[in-house]
Subunit: 382 residues, 2 copies
């Protein structure tokens, strides 16, 4: 019974992430999706080019991939790749959204890549019954600020907004769409006869940036897509279709989700503000949410904690530091050990995280303001 | 049995017109589609504004409508309408395609309307497995020449090419698509799980020109769609959705099909060149096809024909004159009577038609050459 229950404890599609994703679940997801773990050999190979490894690689935040070996073969032959990632603008940006973007920036810096960053304002509008077109446009603007604030190279970063760039995307999307049946999207995304026809079509639009640079350059260019693992199904279709159109299958590198505050392993939810840190939160809001809501792996009393120690593996504050806010390996090791031994209290751990988040957000919010004048530099000019 | 067989002798959807459409079938189609016959009262009302009636109205070539009374109410209140029609560029233009366009031009002239003319190059590409993107672009160009050659007012006529104008259409199409489920398009167009997701989405794109002028003008403008009756299902969806988006339901006026040469009542087929007169055919080709293939309502021998007379009702040459090539009511009456009495022979009737077609095509082909320099004036500038 226990086992059976566990087997159903998560569900991951681009339109729903349910349940708790712990290490065992990620293992199973890898098998279910047919994606490969990032192993030592691959890490060494990446390091050969980047000199150092991003902590998200070392710590398994990016944990799986498709065709990274092929991508590096091409790279080593002098066939440079471009990066493609995106953000569906269905709400404000939270800390969890930043995970793959920070890593993407690192890839851009280390490999000198062009980056195509898609904002599928069509997708969320069509998938969310109560989300208006105007709201989506507002979120697109807000989300763009957060991406720019992370410091992407404006000369090498091209924002694609599906409605704004429809003139560019749609003529390519129909070539994709012609090769995908309703049966396929039904199976991959769980669509039904009640799904609207825009949502059914949408995956074609998400496929286009994976070969658009090849169209524009009139030559085949390899593509690497860093993404949250829930988006993998879209690109399974993409990988199936692109060779039929004469393009390379894109390589993919998959990240885990940053937990929501209230539960270790749950994907951060945009609908529960208490469980989420927004990029625009004030230091007071951050402090209040972390202290009050961050799920603790500590013991219920100080005495007990000193004696038994805490469990960093299920402690959301610790996990946030590990995933994002404490890149220093020595420091994170010390926090881990001190917390586990009981030397560090849950309140101290949380206070440390609050400090880290607020330092990050102070800088981010400053950059976010500056970004308002930079948007034009990032939006792709047709 | 006879009756049952008859009930299944035709099938009309935007993607398939099968069987023979005689007057009785058009009657039944009207009932099946829920469209209204154009009656004397409506004709009188139109004539009040146009002074004279186009022969296609008098002769029932345009035979049915939706909401023409509402449209004229609005017109009489000073609320002018625009026209919307189109051509799916899946091949060269034949004579049958010209029927609704000639009438549309008359409407434009008489009512002083703006006309939005859509070339859904996405549609045919996605629906026809073996039609390449490049072929569709070539046909789009050829078809535009034929439309321009008919003499539309370039100041009031706006060509919309779905891929070229996707930047304009797609952001509106997703608002339409959000309100249409797969169940609906399945029921209306007979789609299955094997239908590709582009074809499923497409009707959203065909809906947009019915309200695009309202979007651009930022006010609600009535729309009249002249079309071949097979296209009605698309606009049943359009009429269902537009009020939900705050726009008027478009009015529609429906034409019958010009028969293919080989069979009275069959829709002219682009796949059987012997059955079809192309706008680029030479006088010799026209003569050969008409004399050889036009289905005759005459008798098998001259003697018998003189005695029994011919049947103009099933004679394709007569029907072509009646539908298109002999607008003069007195002349067509005389031809009808002479042919029916046996005074006019089948060969004479065909020769008369050949003369008429060739005179028309001579002028048309001249205009078609001139059109090559006018295309830019017609393509809508965003």
């Amino acid at each position: 019974m226990e086992k059976e229950k566990k087997e159903k404890s998560f569900e991951v599609t681009p339109y729903e992430v349910k349940g708790v994703l712990d290490d065992a679940e990620y293992e199973r997801l890898m098998k279910e999706f047919g994606i490969n773990p990032i192993n030592k050999q691959l890490l060494d190979r990446i390091k050969k080019h980047t000199k150092e490894l991003h902590f998200m690689l070392n710590r398994g935040v990016f944990f799986a991939h498709r065709d990274m070996d092929w991508l590096l073969n091409e790279y080593e032959k002098g066939n440079k790749f471009f990066l493609y990632t995106g953000r569906a603008p269905s709400g404000e940006t939270h800390i969890g959204h930043l995970v793959p973007w920070v890593f993407t920036k690192w890839l851009q810096d280390k490999f000198g890549c062009e980056l195509w960053f898609q904002f599928p304002d069509d997708e969320k509008f069509m998938f969310k019954q109560n989300l208006s077109y105007e709201e989506v446009q507002k979120y697109t603007y807000e989300n763009m600020l957060d991406v720019i604030a992370l410091g992407f190279n404006p000369k090498k970063t091209h924002f694609i907004l599906d409605t704004k760039h429809a003139g560019l995307l749609y003529p390519e999307a129909i070539k994709v769409a012609k090769k995908i049946t309703f049966s396929t999207v039904k199976a991959v995304f769980g669509f039904t006869n009640d799904t609207n026809i825009g949502s059914i079509f949408y995956t074609s639009m998400q496929t286009v940036p994976a070969f658009l640079p090849s169209v524009l350059a009139k030559k085949n260019i390899p593509c690497l897509i860093p993404l949250g693992v829930d988006q993998d199904p879209h690109f399974r279709i993409t990988r199936d279709i692109l060779p039929k159109l004469g393009y390379y299958k894109p390589a993919i590198i998959h990240s885990k989700f940053l937990s929501g505050l209230k539960l270790y392993g749950g994907k951060m939810s945009t609908s529960d503000s208490d469980s989420t840190i927004w990029t625009t939160d004030t230091p007071e809001q951050v402090k209040k949410k972390i202290m009050k809501h961050a799920f603790s792996g500590g013991q219920s009393t100080i005495e007990e904690h000193r004696k038994k120690g805490g469990n960093p593996d299920i402690d959301v504050a610790y996990q946030w530091l590990y995933f994002f806010f404490e890149p220093d390996d020595k420091k994170i090791k010390k926090i881990h050990d001190d917390y586990k031994s009981g030397k560090m209290l849950s309140g101290e751990l949380k206070a440390y995280l609050v400090e880290k988040i607020n330092a990050f957000l102070k800088e981010h919010q400053k950059n976010r303001e500056l970004a308002k004048k930079q948007i034009d530099k990032f939006i792709f000019k047709v």
